[in-house]
Amino acid sequence: MTVTRAAWLRQAVEVCLVVLLPAAIISAIATDLGIYVWTTVVIYIIFAMGTNVLVGWSGATSFGQAAYFGTGAYAVALLRERELPNEVLLVLAVLASAVVALTLGILTLRAVGLRFGIITLVFGQLIYLVVFRNDGLGSETGLYPVARSTVLGQDVSDQRTFFWVVVSVLTIVAFVLRRMYQSSFGLTLAAMRDDPLRTVALGLPIRWLRLISFVLAGAVAGLAGGLFAQQQGSASPSMLSFALSGHIILICLLGGRFRFWGAAAGAIVFTWAEYHLRSLTDATDLYLGALLLVIVIAMPDGLAKLWDLTTVALRSRSRTSDRDEVSV
């Protein structure tokens, strides 16, 4: 079908423009330190885009997403002496976090709203404590050293090469999520977010939708965690912490949870703001918190609102809105 192919192509072009083009520019001009920070940014983008499946798409916000990020990180760290290629390592990281997410997802099938949020939070803390107290998992110091494993048989331990590995993963993740977002699956999640009871009245399998989106978010978080362990050279309990779960939700809100690329924008601004603030002051979290508060209060729809205002101004004379415009 030509129509279907056109949709594939449009989405692929969009992902390339948004991800690969800026990545190429960054890679060309950034210093070594810059590349290091940008790699972290890209990993956060992957994590945030996965988390936004819950925060923005389905509306069933989880307050314990670090549990799945950390599961991915520890999966990779535990396998550090096996000399597995990254293709295998990352698949295992995804599987590990998907299994953990599936377990909690099944247990929370009937919980909605605040109750769901609290259960995910408590579960996240439980995993954090189990790891923190477990000598086999390195307790409070974590597991190290974690080397950067090969990709397609190539050594990628150099920071610039590893940056491209992470960017490639983001490209794949963003493309898959982009397709889902514009599919009927994405549409039904949005419906569920707007009015769960109405979705039930239409006969949609709401619990399945919730479970699938929860596992999807967990799996993407695990992928990001697996990359992060290799970026940092270790897996540590902070990767499972509630603080991280909170940060990633803030990133979604900051960027604009109702827009597909909102979480990505949030990750860039948040990570760089945190990085610069840290070199200026000891009270990073205080200033960062204040900054976020201002942005979230002034712009409930996040930074994406700025994008909207810009495009509306640019397009004011051109064609009327259609489906694509609404879902960007």
Binding site: R179, M180, S183, A190, D194, L197, P205, R323, V326
Partner: protein, 253 residues
Amino acid sequence: MTTAVLEATSVSKSFGQVHALSDVSLQIAAGETLGVIGPNGAGKSTLFGVLAGEHRASSGSVVLHGRDITGWNASRVARSGLGRTFQVPRVFTRLTAAQNVEVALVAARHRLGRMTDNLTHDRAMESAAAALLDRVGLASAAGIEAAHLGQGDRKLLELAMALGRGAHVLLLDEPTAGMGRGEARRLVEVVQDLRTVQPELAVLVTAHHMEVILALADRVVLLADGAVRVVGTPQDVAEHPETRRIYLGEDLL
């Protein structure tokens, strides 16, 4: 009498000490429109809730297309061909009118098994949604976010969604509440039109305005204090002494 597509037998529903429905029985045949009238608190919304599977009946049974659906949840009842609109219209506010209908079409098309369907964005569904919007007179609103639609348009949108869902039985809960006269007339026309297009469609409608019931219903049930008081043609029920007593001289016509 033809066989009923929807039949409630001796349905009772209590919320604690409150008996919202007691021993309510009614049948509705294919192609028939049954009006349900009654003062506030008569149990109309509770009756709809029980029929649609949102409330579980304390006793009694509900049969849809010959299948006993008593105790089924709302989702399962919807999948069996019963569609409803809400007194306060419930639409997906951040989605466009067209997307709202598409959600209903997705719900009608598959359950979950066909993931490939889930991942394709198909033009056929878009045109089906456009056709349904056109049928309820909302063609021009297709690209508008439901949050920006007026109350009347939202009610019409709900109707399009129920049709997209493939309902054989339609429950319209106060379809004209909060509407201006012009809008109410348009809704009545849309429903009349639907019955011409889908002659088998059974409609159960509640309304405060007798005008709406007279225009739409083939038969009318008067509900008061959770019980059926009078059943008959709209004219008969309107003129029945019991109706007059309950409405305390309110001008029904």
